[in-house]
Every structure is written in C-alpha cells, then in structure tokens.
Amino acid sequence: MTSPVVEIRDLSFTYDSGKPALSGVSLAVGRGECVGLVGPNGAGKSTLLLHLNGILRGRGDVRVLGLPLQKKNLKEIRARVGLVFQDPRQQLFLPSLVEDIAFGPLNAGYPPEEVRRRVARIMELFDLQKIGDSSPHHLSPGEQKKAALAAVLVMDPELLAFDEPSSGLDPASRRDFIELVRTLPQTKIIATHDMDLAYELCGRVLVMDHGRIFADGRRDAILGDAALLQAHRLEQPLSMLLDQRSELS
C-alpha cells in the first residue's frame, strides 16, 4: 500500500445516549484507493465517516492525510477531506446554490478572486450555471446530490467520503452519479448498502456491523462471499451475479 491517507487504530465511540456506535475499529486506506464500506442500518458506517472530518472524536488513534485528528489540525483536515452527506438537503443550507458552493472556500480564507474562480470552474464542470441563483431546496434530488458534491469538490479535497450516495436517486440520476464519481481521481470511501454501487466503484470492500469491521478485502472476494454477506443482512450485488453468469455462458 502507498502512504496511507487514513489510518485508524482501535477507534471506539459511544453516543451521548449511551449507544455504542464503534468498537475497536482499525483501518488503513492508501492514496487513490476506492473503498466500499458496506453494512446494514446502524452498523456504524456514518459514525466512522464523521470521524474522518473531526466532527466526531472517539477513543483511539485517527490520522487523516498524515495529520493526527487533533483540534489544531481540524481546519486543515476539513479543507482537505470532503464529506458528502446522505441527505443533500441537510448539506446545502444557504439561500442560493452559488453561496453554498462558495461556503467552503470562503471558510478556508481564500481571497475573493480565488473563490470566484473555483466556484465558476466547478459550476461549469457540473453544469450548474443555470440554477446557481436558485434556492437549493427547490432543486430535484438528483440536482441536489450533484450540488452537494460540487460544494465539496470546490475545495479540491484529497479524500472524499460519501455517505449513502445513491439513496433517493432515480435510476438515471444514480447512473449519472456513479459515472461522475468514477471520474474523480481522489481517494474515496463510500459508505453504502447499495451493493451494486459498491461493486461498480470500489476495488476494496469492508463489511461493518455492530460498530466493528468483520471483513476487509478485494471486492470480488468479499462480495462473492454470499454467506458472509447474509450473516450481516446484506446481499450479493445483482450486477456481479449477472457478470458471473455471462462469464460462465
């Protein structure tokens, strides 16, 4: 593995309600990898992603992009790690889309000209110019998802963490989204229970359940193990089964 972008050792986290969400999670992700984090509801996937950006801080050792997850490093970590939330309506909160996209660069302290340049570039890349002045909550779910990703990518992050990126998307929007994510060169961690999405995008897959990592390996080995997946309330991806069938025939 190349130098790890994420290094987590023995991470545990319990919510204020007393519910343990992570227990003894250890993980290393190399530069350029695309890692799928699959597991049933309540497995701790979102909680783990929130640690990558320092929103949650549990017990254990977390290093992101070589920086220990400490208060003094949070500004830099947040500028270099892009977190795409499950519900884009909660990610986009400003009155206009342009302002929302500019939010990250302005917080990072970029000069106005640089902010303008970055926003214009990302809006063009995502074809969002026409809806730039619209209120984000008036956009379709597909547009909102795209806008949420644009609001994160405008910072040129080195690590992208997606939380259930395909939820709420129709098949065409989901396909567009997959193709878009496929073109991104960054290191990616995708938390999902859309097994087909994990199969299409990720070279490595981790199975999480009850706040622990139960399996970690190459995509085909993990997603090909029907018994393992079933034990954790998951299913083999249909696209993988179809691929296998067409290879056999």
Binding site: L50, N53, I55, K75, R78, A79, V81, L83, F85, D87, R89, Q90, Q91, F93, L94, P95, S96, V98, E99, A102, F103, G104, L106, N107, A108, P112, V115, R116, D133, S135, H137, A151, V152, M155
Partner: protein, 233 residues
C-alpha cells in the same frame, strides 16, 4: 408583458429606499396633517407599483394577511359617535394608513427580491454578521419546516385524519408536536455537522456579488429628491 423596473436594482438601493419610506412615515419631520403626509408618501409609491412586476400581488397578499386586524381597527373607529371621532383621526387612521404604506414599501422593495441578495445586501450595509447568519439559517429552516409540515400533513391525510373528531384531532396534533420539534432539532444537528465539515467556525463569510450601477445611482437620486420634498412639505 409584465414590466418590472425595480428588478435590476441593487438590493442595497432598495433597502435604502425602504428605510427612507419608514423614516418618512414614522419620524415626525413636518407639521402637516397626517392625511397629507400619508398621501405625500403614498403618491410616489403608488406611481411605482404599475412598473414593479409582481409587487401588486405581493401588496394585496400582505394586506389580506393583515386584513382582520386592520378591519377590526377601522370598524372600532367607526363605532365612535359621529359628531366627534377622535380615535378615527388621531389613532386608527394613522395606524391603518401607515400599515398600508409599510406593506406597500415592503412589496415594492423587499418582498420582490431574492432572499440571498437581500441577505448579502444586509451584510454589506453593515448589519452585524451574527444577525445575518441567524437570518440565513432561519430562512433555510423556514423551508425545512415547510417540508416537514407538508410531510406530516400528507401522512395524516393518507390515514384519514380528516374524518376524526375535533377533540381527537387536537389530541393527535398535541402528541405529534414534540416529535415534530425533535425531528427539526435532529435536522438542525445534521445541518450543523455539514457546516462544520466544510470549515464553519462561527463566521459566515461572503463575497461581493452585488453590482451598483448607474441605474441605482439614478434611482437613489430620485428617491432622495422625492424624500426631501416630502420632508420639507
């Protein structure tokens, strides 16, 4: 085709015009009778109305919202003895007349503007940042509330809520209220997480996207001349 001469103006110009109208209405700058003062302010505003796009509708809508209160005030004034109606002239007429004009200025200069442009304008005319942050998030939350309420309404309607007796309806609504606020709070926490993940640390920086043009200069000059004329009337 709908004519809207105000739509291209910088929202800062509109804010200044709005504040000027409020000053003319509420700061006693002349000793003329109240009716004359109100008419002097109303004339230029009404002259703008036909060329201000959807302001007509916005004015009527705000008036409709305030109609019960204004109607009650007017009605109570009319109940005064006919010979001497001090309340009508000294109290009710100014309240009703000023309300009409405040709503008119709101419709002309504020309500027909995009919220994000108004928020930027407020920020740039020197409103404290904390207030602008609260307004921006408040606007966002208002939309979230609307969505949540609509979701609850549909869920109830789909399960024949309308057929329940009034007492049971109220009981259901009372029971759902804490849950509704709980969901809003949870949504708020998620929004805060998303803000923090993009570097939010209590400041809401913005950058200059509003453009002050010659049209704004002309509009403000005209507004200043009119306001001065009314003030020295």
């Amino acid at each position: 085709m709908r004519v809207d001469l105000l739509s291209g103006l910088d929202p800062r110009s509109k804010l200044v015009a709005f504040l000027t109208v409020q000053a003319l209405l509420f700061v006693p700058v002349s000793h003329q009778p109240i009716l004359i003062r109100l008419f002097a302010v109303a004339a230029p505003l009404l002259a703008l109305l036909p060329v201000a796009g959807r302001s007509w509708r916005l004015w009527l809508r705000t008036l409709a919202l305030a109609a019960p209160l204004l109607g009650f005030l007017a009605f109570s004034a009319l109940l005064q003895p006919a010979a001497d109606r001090p309340a009508l002239h000294q109290l009710i007429l100014p309240i009703v007349g000023k309300s009409f004009l405040v709503f008119l200025s709101l419709a002309l200069f504020i309500l027909n503007e995009e919220p994000w442009r108004l928020l930027q304008a407020l920020r740039q005319i020197g409103l404290p940042q904390a207030v602008v942050v609260i307004l921006a998030i408040g606007y966002r939350f208002a939309c979230q509330w609307q969505l949540e309420l609509e979701g609850v309404r549909r869920a109830w309607t789909s399960r024949n809520f309308s057929t329940l007796s009034k007492i049971r309806k109220v009981r259901h609504m009372g029971g759902a209220l804490p849950l509704f606020f709980d969901r809003l709070l949870e949504g708020g926490v998620h929004i805060h997480d998303a803000m923090v993940s993009r570097g939010f640390h209590g400041q809401l920086p913005t950058w200059q996207r509003l453009v002050f043009t010659r049209r704004d200069a002309a509009f403000l000059t005209l507004a200043a001349v009119t306001a001065t004329a009314i003030a020295i009337l």
